[in-house]
């Protein structure tokens, strides 16, 4: 501890520095270089540039790990750790941010609220996500979480004149702050129990205290409430449908993909780290939450007529599936969680992108009827949506099948047969409501002949998400081995 900022510290922190600097620079460029509203779309290129630089920094870290044949680089006295797990999630965050930046300008222009701040917020939220995936200290994780959440509160309420967007923002803000309160209360108990804010030290302290200590249970319960809220698992899911429906669709895509992936990284760090000694306590608790999430998510989705709301409930049920991998807890389970999150990000974003493409000035394009006969109007969008929905339902040869396969495999390997059966049955329910969208697109007659929106960014984003959804399904080996090397131990 003689040196406060070593070269190793710097090497680990570079991606976050780049994201923060580019985020602030975009905010400045917005009014210094591009005062005209129609010039704001050039900011997308700055975002892309920032993300490419960040990707380069991450690649250097990945390269360093593989050349030196080490598992992790620790910096700042153990508060930040770059390991395969952190890098895996950071690649996902970068992809999500890039896709959202690409589609945002067209959507926000149509919605009449194209402000340059959105690009700065995307990068700063990504910076928060970096700390969530790489943080190994309670303070770092808490700051990362709040940096991400604060950016999202603003982005959800970005359509200032829209009542639904306001409402979504206020609900997300109040419930988000409420859950952060629980989380940080749990952190204070963990700190009191262990005398340290570092995850490794807390784990050792909890191991020596035993799982049935009432203070350990208090910490476990409060931290779990905070974490389960962030991944929108039942019974802490109430905010998700409203926030997803009211937010601008591009932000919804980011919320469903980036924010949820980051929250899962955080959740895995906590449950596989400091909370691992009390596994016997949280395993049944999480099993109940996972089954409840799948039940509520799948059955509530059946009756929805708003596609964004339907996808929100489906994302609640996906959170349940991902939790199952953590419950199984063996290497296959953790690998399943990583693969599922990767797959989930691309297919969910893809589905929301198609919904965003249907937005016009006078029409929201979010209802099931707005999709009627889409195949006659824009067959490209309709077939891409079909791929995303098949993948969300988990049908081969799409990526969603690979994700579900590993989760189910891990459940069977660890003898959780009942959970495996329940999870499989819910796939049937999911197919039913996803095919309501498919039926509307392919069988219902075309009612609205106005063409769907299109832009270069949207095409690029759809190409990337569609390609990844098919590629991971058809040729999963490289992604599987990447996940295999990114396990949290």
């Amino acid at each position: 501890m003689s040196q406060y900022y070593t070269s190793v510290d710097h090497f680990v922190l570079v991606p976050a520095i780049l994201l923060a600097l580019f985020g602030c620079a975009v905010l400045l460029f917005d009014f210094l270089l591009f005062p005209e509203p129609r010039q704001r779309k050039y900011l997308v290129w700055f975002v892309a540039l920032g993300l490419v630089f960040t990707g380069g920094a991450l690649w250097r870290q990945q390269h360093f790990l593989s050349v030196q044949k080490i598992d992790s680089i620790t910096a700042f006295g153990g508060t930040l750790t770059i390991d395969g797990f952190a890098l895996f999630f950071n690649w996902i965050f970068l992809a999500a941010s890039l896709i959202v930046a690409l589609i945002s300008y067209k959507y926000l222009e149509t919605a009449g609220e194209h402000q340059g701040e959105i690009y700065g917020l995307i990068l700063l939220a990504n910076c928060g996500m970096f700390f969530l995936a790489a943080g190994t200290d309670l303070i770092t994780l808490f700051i990362g979480l709040e940096l991400m959440a604060l950016c999202f509160y603003v982005m959800v309420g970005f359509l200032r004149g829209d009542r639904r967007s306001n409402e979504a923002a206020v609900k997300y803000l109040l419930l988000g702050a409420f859950s952060s309160g629980f989380l940080v209360y749990g952190f204070s108990v963990l700190y009191g129990l262990s005398g340290s804010t570092k995850l490794a030290a807390i784990r050792m302290a909890l191991e020596s205290r035993g799982a049935s200590d009432p203070l350990v249970i208090l910490a476990l319960v409060t931290v779990s409430v905070g974490l389960l809220f962030k991944i929108s698992a039942v019974p802490f899911h109430m905010w998700a449908p409203d926030a997803y429906e009211g937010a601008p669709t591009t932000v919804t895509a980011y919320l469903a993909a980036g924010s949820k992936a980051a929250s899962f990284a955080f959740l895995m760090r906590m449950f596989m780290g400091p909370l691992a000694p009390s596994r016997e306590l949280w395993e049944p608790l999480l099993a109940v939450v996972a089954v409840a999430s799948m039940t509520v998510g799948n059955f509530a989705a059946i009756t929805q007529s708003n596609v964004k709301r339907l996808l929100a409930y489906s994302s609640i049920s996906h959170a349940g599936y991902i939790l199952l991998g953590l419950i199984a807890g063996n290497d296959t389970g953790v690998q399943g969680v990583l693969v599922y999150v990767l797959v989930y990000v691309f297919m969910t974003m893809g589905a929301f992108l198609v919904v965003a493409a249907l937005r016009r000035k006078e029409m929201l394009g979010e209802d099931l009827e707005d999709m009627a006969g889409l195949v006659h109007k824009s067959p490209g969008y309709a077939f891409l949506m079909l791929i995303f929905l098949l993948s969300l339902a988990g049908i081969p040869p799409t990526a969603g099948f690979i994700g579900k396969y590993f989760i189910f495999l891990s459940l069977i390997q660890t003898g959780h047969y009942v959970l495996a059966v329940i999870a499989t049955l819910y796939v049937a329910v999911a197919i039913y409501y996803y095919f309501r969208i498919v039926r509307s697109m392919f069988i219902s007659p075309l009612t609205d002949r106005a063409p769907a929106a299109t832009s270069l960014g949207l095409k690029l984003a759809l190409a990337v998400t569609g390609l990844m959804t098919l590629l991971i399904g058809i040729y999963p080996e490289p992604f599987l081995s990447l996940a295999q090397n990114s396990l949290l131990r």
Binding site: L174, F182, N306
Partner: protein, 102 residues
């Protein structure tokens, strides 16, 4: 803290936190709900400082500063969002802010 045992501070913190939770769940005005969240965060600060003093460390104090910063940022953002809601709706009752169908 001479004379006052650690548990008293923790009990006070737990009581304040519970009051915050109760306020969040019971009160109907967005502003009061928001203040309840601040109360929860302050309860957390109290428990951090108490633990920190007990353990003779500065980590807990440090965490308190971060919690305060986050609370301030949240308040600034929250009030801005609440203002936007009030402009568009003219009400701040939680029950009346529910235009989205369930």
């Amino acid at each position: 803290m001479t004379g006052v045992p650690l548990s008293w501070f923790l009990i006070l913190s737990a009581v304040l936190f519970s009051l915050g939770v109760a306020g969040f769940l019971i009160r109907r005005s967005v502003l009061t709900v928001f203040m309840s969240i601040e109360l929860m965060l302050n309860a957390v600060n109290l428990s951090f400082v108490a633990f920190s003093y007990q353990l003779k460390q500065v980590n807990g104090h440090l965490f308190t500063f971060f919690v305060m910063v986050v609370a301030a940022a949240e308040a600034a953002l929250g009030l801005a969002i609440i203002l936007a809601v009030f402009r568009n709706r003219g009400t701040l009752q939680v029950d009346e802010v529910n235009s989205m169908k369930n």
